[in-house]
């Protein structure tokens, strides 16, 4: 037996660390694929809410781009939806930094004519009970963007009603709807002025 108490304590810590690492690594290894599968399924579900009829492997065809959007240098993810090799729509994963409570991660889809397929929230930190009505499981508010474009409504009216635009805001929250409206608008403007590829 080791007689030096410091060495003994060290050995003990070593043994327990090794055992713990073994079990954590084992769990990580066995759950890895299932977790990846879950993450992909969630993304596919979100994508499918906005676009249908594509026949490509949309997750594998994803590409990233470093651009300045919403006044923020960010890396956006672009999912092209293709039919028989021809792209007919794009889904953009981007972050709008000025929510009520920090950044909102969004998925914005539009077709090649820059007509919106819709907007969905991926993650947000808006106030529960007020700002979270941007989630589809709480309200249908965010579904209204489908079919809109830079000319419908007129560019000057891409604002919430309180700011003189056409979009409703919901009771008790103005900043959150304002953020979504402006995020969708800015994505359309950016990809009208810039090439997507």
């Amino acid at each position: 037996m080791i007689s030096n108490p410091i060495l003994k304590a060290g050995a003990l810590l070593l043994i327990f660390t090794a055992i713990s690492i073994f079990f954590v690594a084992l769990t990580q290894d066995t759950t890895k694929e299932k977790i990846k599968y879950n993450e992909d399924q969630l993304l596919i579900k979100r994508l499918a809410e906005l676009v249908s009829g594509y026949d490509n492997k949309i997750l594998e065809d994803k590409f990233s781009k470093e651009i300045e959007l919403h006044g923020l240098q960010q890396k956006i993810g672009i999912y092209p939806a293709k039919q028989q090799g021809k792209t007919f729509a794009y889904l953009i994963e981007h972050t709008y930094p000025n929510g009520y409570n920090g950044g909102i991660r969004l998925l914005t889809g539009f077709d090649v004519k820059r007509q919106l397929l819709g907007v969905r929230v991926i993650t947000h930190k808006e106030t529960p009970g007020l700002g979270d009505k941007i989630e589809t499981r709480k309200a249908d508010w965010i579904k209204q963007f489908s079919g809109l474009s830079l000319s419908n409504p007129h560019q000057n009216n891409w604002k919430v009603k309180r700011d003189g635009g056409v979009f409703d805001s919901f009771t008790g929250a103005t900043i959150t709807p304002r953020a979504i409206v402006s995020a969708a608008y800015q994505v359309l403007v950016y990809f009208t002025e810039h090439e997507i590829n």
């Binding site: 003990l12 810590l13 713990s20 690492i21 977790i35 529960p128 009970g129």
Partner: protein
Amino acid sequence: MGDYIKIVKNGLWANNQALVALLGLCPLLAVTNNIVNAIGLGLATTFVLVASNVTVSIFRNHISKEVRIPIFVLLIASFVTIVELLMQSYFYDLYLILGIFVPLIVTNCAILGRAEAYASKNTWDKSALDGLMMGIGFSLVLILLGGMRELIGSGTLFDQSSLILGSFGDTLSITVFENYQGTLLAILPPGAFIGLGLIVALKNLLDLKAAKTSESIPLDGSIKTIALNNS
């Protein structure tokens, strides 16, 4: 047998980690805005409590005094990581909501507290029961507080139960008040503090009543001071 009954009583009531020891407040206050979140975090906490208590008690004679705290923390952190990974693979929807709070279980002092105060001095079977009862006691408070806040805050009960129970859960969801506008205070953190305060007060009131009825009132009518915190 008496020992085991005492463990059950301590865990559920007399030394309830949330109401008496007031431990684990961070996750307690953060996730109790509805019942489903409360059940999810309660189950995860209970699992970690039982696992850490059993492990600590099995190795209690081999862990030297000087390094026991780092070893306890190491064990607890490992169990929490394992729970997080399992949740991510089998209850992914729930994980999306509770995800950021699961690592906080490590910082729940109730778990380290039970390892140090109980499991390091008792046999594994008693420690397992202690962990289970402390976990259930903690979960019950989470669920009660979650129910209160969900009912007052959004006018529903068991909303989104399907996250835990699958499609069966949808039948459980009750909308108590139709067209309820919601009470924001109950959903926000202050509502959690007020709710917890009310539950602690209620428990103390019940204890006080129980103590009064069990003690025969002295002839001279003087009232004895009653200790509320029987640890």
